[in-house]
Symmetry: C2
Subunit: 239 residues, 2 copies
């Protein structure tokens, strides 16, 4: 058993884009596929490791690039949110880049394009929600400490993708009123949704590089519980 | 393999009380124990079946009686909430009856008294929360479509019991503001808590006898998901 990784170049509006695919090389044939949507910094090794973990679960994963090849920042960057800010200001463009990323995932030779899902972290959680709102072709999605403001365009109704929202209750970026608003939005859109909220967890609770204390920090219990919930969710989604 | 059941009589303030225990008879020795807290109607066959299901998972379960022997109502009763109302008006008495029920559970010959938990439905969910708030000796508790108003007495701080709150988002008895208030209360009390909220589910979503439509009705997806979450929760709690 060995996890294979490959850099994937793909096109789309504002591209080229550069993602990273991972799959279990000992498995032959196609398998369900999962798009991994990074946080504000864009594709990085932490996302590649999530893709590896999904590969170990039996999926083929693609870490998406919605910013563009070479467009990355770090926590130390002066303007680390610059690429995200551009897309937050143009949600239709974000949608179209998500569609391009999903197409790249489904085009992987290991992928069963009929069985696709998406997971995402922070801004990537918003990306998951936007994929569902836009009616892109995923069976389901999992948002980890996402951001919940709806896009400028109307949502498809009903939302077809099943959604699992993993949420740190102390998240200062997505406080209770935003979380309640998301729940109401998803209800009105007819989505099959679940919210898992974790006490004493904030934003970025899956990010082992963000030491606490504070409300934007790694929280190992919420990290473990949410990954387990995702594992169950995907297993049932693709069954 | 066979599930055994036994009627258990026990004492306490306002007793005697009559509960029903269930365990797997083919298993020898003690095992973790779970108190099952019924809804407004009190102990009934639907609760006994939950105890059977817990027995099949490897636990010994006791369906608690907090109303008193023979004090039961049905959905058809004119005054079906009469026994619950008395206890909602006297939360210290409810607490003491919960303590008596927990003692009866731990006294079962099949029970490992060091490994106890509680689950409850509707009013029984409130009972679970009150056990945690009162510092009764459970490692954890699971509330299914519970009721969230805090008791008249102050909570222990920190709450030691881990808590899983399984919640139907459309619950008219526990609307979003009550749910947010509970989350904030449990955070302030220092509890290790999780909330699993399910879209398009209301109150009583586990109650297969309550046909929908409506916001107080059985909802099979939320029923399945919450039971699965409980199963995981208890497994880890007792590991």
């Amino acid at each position: 058993m060995a996890i294979a990784r490959q850099t994937i170049l793909y096109d789309g509006p504002g591209g080229p884009f550069e993602g990273v695919a991972a799959w279990e090389d000992a498995v032959e044939g196609t398998r369900p596929c999962v798009l991994v949507l990074p946080n504000v910094l864009g594709q990085k090794e932490a996302d590649n490791l999530k893709a590896d973990a999904l590969a170990a679960l039996g999926y083929v994963a693609l870490v998406a690039d919605v910013f563009g090849q070479g467009k990355r920042t770090t926590l130390q960057s002066d303007d680390r949110s610059r690429y995200m800010d551009e897309l937050n200001a143009d949600r239709p463009l974000l949608r179209d880049r998500l569609a391009a990323s999903l197409a790249a995932l489904k085009a992987l030779p290991q992928a069963d394009p009929e069985k696709a899902a998406a997971i995402g972290f922070c801004f990537g959680g918003k990306c998951v929600l936007d994929m569902a709102r836009a009616g892109l072709g995923i069976l389901g999605g999992v948002s980890f400490h996402g951001v919940y403001d709806p896009p400028s365009y109307p949502s498809v109704v009903p939302i077809a993708a099943k959604l699992l929202i993993c949420h740190g209750w102390d998240d200062p970026i997505s406080p209770p009123e935003a979380t309640v608003a998301l729940a109401n939005e998803l209800t009105q859109s007819g989505a099959d949704w679940q919210l898992h909220a974790y006490g004493h967890a904030g934003h970025a609770f899956t990010d082992s590089g963000r030491a606490g204390p504070g409300d934007i920090a790694y929280e190992p219990r919420a990290d473990r519980r949410s990954w387990r919930a995702m594992t169950d969710f995907l297993e049932r989604l693709f069954a």
